[in-house]
Amino acid sequence: MGQTQTQTEAANQPGQKKFLSGAQAIMQSLVEQGVDTIFGYPGGAIMPTYDALYDYQDRLKHILVRHEQGAGHAAQGYARMLNKAGVCMVTSGPGATNLITPIADAMLDSTPLVCIVGQVKGNLLGTDAFQECDLIGISMPVTKWNYQVVDANEIPEIMAKAFYIAETGRPGPVLIDITRTAQTDLMTVPFEYKPCKSIISYKPRVEPKAEHVEAAAKLINGAKRPYILAGHGIIIAGAEKELNDFVDKTGIPVATTLLGMSSMDADHPLYVGWPGMHGNYGANVLTNSCDVLIAIGMRFDDRITGDLATYAKQAKVVHIEIDPSEVDKNVKADAPVVGDAKAALKALLPLVNKADHSVWRAEFKKYDDEEYEKITLKDLFHEGDKIKMGEAVNLLSEKTKGEAVVVTDVGQHQMITNRYYRFKKRNSIVTSGGAGTMGFALPAAFGAKVAVPEREVVAVIGDGGFQMTLQELGTIAQSGLPVKIIILNNNFLGMVRQWQQLFFDNRYSFVELQNPDFITIAKGFGIAGHTVSDRAELSDSLDTLLSSDKPYLLEIVCEKEENVFPMVPAGGCVTSVRLE
């Protein structure tokens, strides 16, 4: 509190303006909120705030991206690493609409963002003024909350509210649209920043109800073949330790969702992989053999459940979830527990019995063996000339000891990376899950590196997705941060090609790419790199990438028409897994 007052007083020093301008109030609010980094791009309607930022450069690090979408995804990568809101700042109109894709992505993947968006002057609102766009209207379906500020005096309260809403409960993106007038006007009251602690119409439940926890424990204790699905909620809640304690005590096999990956050590004896469209064989099939399904911090996305009519019908479902609207949305819960994953697991732990489910666990092993035989062996140790994506990722996993932060784009390489990277460290996967946004990885990896510069951050990207946001190489080069970039290049939009092959009778409709020379492009941005296409050089190439103390791009030329298996066809039953 003392520090807060000092800062406020400093901002109101005699000799300066008595009251802050709206733009200064935005900066001061960010400082007092504890924000250290802004990803942004200036433009007309946000210029007063950029002018205020000029005086705040010692307290707020601003990173100039090359496209507003890059700012959004970078803020997402940053937010996912630190579990606190990523901040982006852009101008009105096209600057703001360019931010919509990351906002929608953050909404689906529960990522806290505070997006500060310039707007035309108050008197021009609704007049189709230059670079005017109804961002409140456009962003409404994809934000957790949004608000248009037209009065400078509102700024501290609204900023505090924005961070509170973005970061609490099920996190999500918040957009604050601030008219140019509200930025330039002086406040008429002294600036005072009070962090938001509660909002009357917004009460996320953290502590679960005791009777719900008891009902869940009863189901779990009676189970003969229980099965845990751990989701992103574990990582958001920071409940990895609680999950491990719970698993160790109950002996229940556990799978993680795509976004929940790295919440369990991949080598934990009870870890059985991941369920879903390209998840593991046993993790999918045995969903329909368990008697109690314990879902924690996940939302039964269609990529996990496939056909809901045949999904886990035999099982009683325990659903631990902070967002009440997710309970019973896709899968009916017999024992719903609304609350934070960490609080819920803490409450559950003393109520569950120590148990041994090794016989049940061994059933997964049978499927694992078949999967290894039919898929993994072929991916990792095949004889062909071309490098397969799986072997590249597997080698990356070995060389980084499973401890890197891995950021993926969307498509085949994403599934392969999650399949073959053996995560050993918590909160190590950043990927676009719900939205499946191509172009996500490069800026998100950069944002992650900004957040955790001490960790190795490796972006694994397809050749298609890389070209969607490759301008952010400029941002990376300017920062000098050693982001490691791997392009798994098969000259195809691989996942679409795979579907066309399997489900559209080999009719390859606009999926082959004539790619640029990626290394020349990187060099143009001042980033070193090289291409590897010979298996014999793959290991050395990865060493070069990983040992670089600067950003580095490694292009790995992969087999062109490789398919990702296992695969549960879209809308299919989780037991109908294709292995080839």
């Binding site: 957790k144 949004n146 009357i200 009460k203 009440p324």
Partner: protein, 178 residues
């Protein structure tokens, strides 16, 4: 079978909230039969009364939870018709030209429980309160005259529970009565 559901949404008085709530219906392709917004007896609390028809109770329950999730929403209730007292208002502008059949004020008042709320030079405006069906029946009766204009409000409804609204609002609020 299509069933009427009346969804009462209590919110803080915030610009743009109507949009945020209707988006939830639009996304799921639910047609809103009627929507009424009004102030309540508590200062700063608005009340949306939304009527939809749906075959699936679970679907409506999911909808209600999605509405509850909106940051500025204080409380939401989904009701079946027998759980609420509800009404609508119909206004009819009826031509009464010189020499035409005059409207039967007595029948309108006593038999139809409606009233004439405005006498124009050659028209009258009749107001009828009641259920949608009652207003429809009244419409049929009025058809013997020329109906110049007809407008009907959306449904307004209060729950049959003995509790007052304030008991469902977050405890720490200062829900001052207006």
């Amino acid at each position: 079978m299509l069933t009427n559901y009346t969804i009462s949404v209590f919110t803080t008085n915030t610009v743009g909230l109507l949009n945020r709530i209707t988006i939830i219906f639009t996304r799921r392709r639910v047609n809103i039969e009627s929507l009424t917004v009004s102030e309540t007896e508590r200062r700063g609390v608005s009340r949306f009364t939304i009527v939809i028809k749906n075959e699936n109770r679970e679907f409506v329950e999911k909808l209600v939870r999605q509405i509850r999730k909106v940051t500025d929403v204080l409380a939401v209730f989904g009701y079946l018709d027998d759980e609420i007292v509800f009404n609508e208002i119909g206004l009819f502008k009826i031509a009464t030209p010189l020499g035409g059949t005059p409207v039967d004020v007595k029948t309108i008042n006593l038999d139809w429980n409606a009233k004439i709320v405005h006498f124009g030079l050659d028209y009258v405006v009749v107001e009828k309160n009641g259920s949608e069906e009652e207003i429809q029946e009244f419409y049929a009766y009025l058809k013997k005259w020329e109906i110049l204009e007809y407008v009907k409000s959306g449904r307004v409804a209060v729950g049959k529970t003995e509790k007052g609204l304030v008991e469902f609002l977050p405890e720490e609020g200062n829900w001052e009565i207006v």
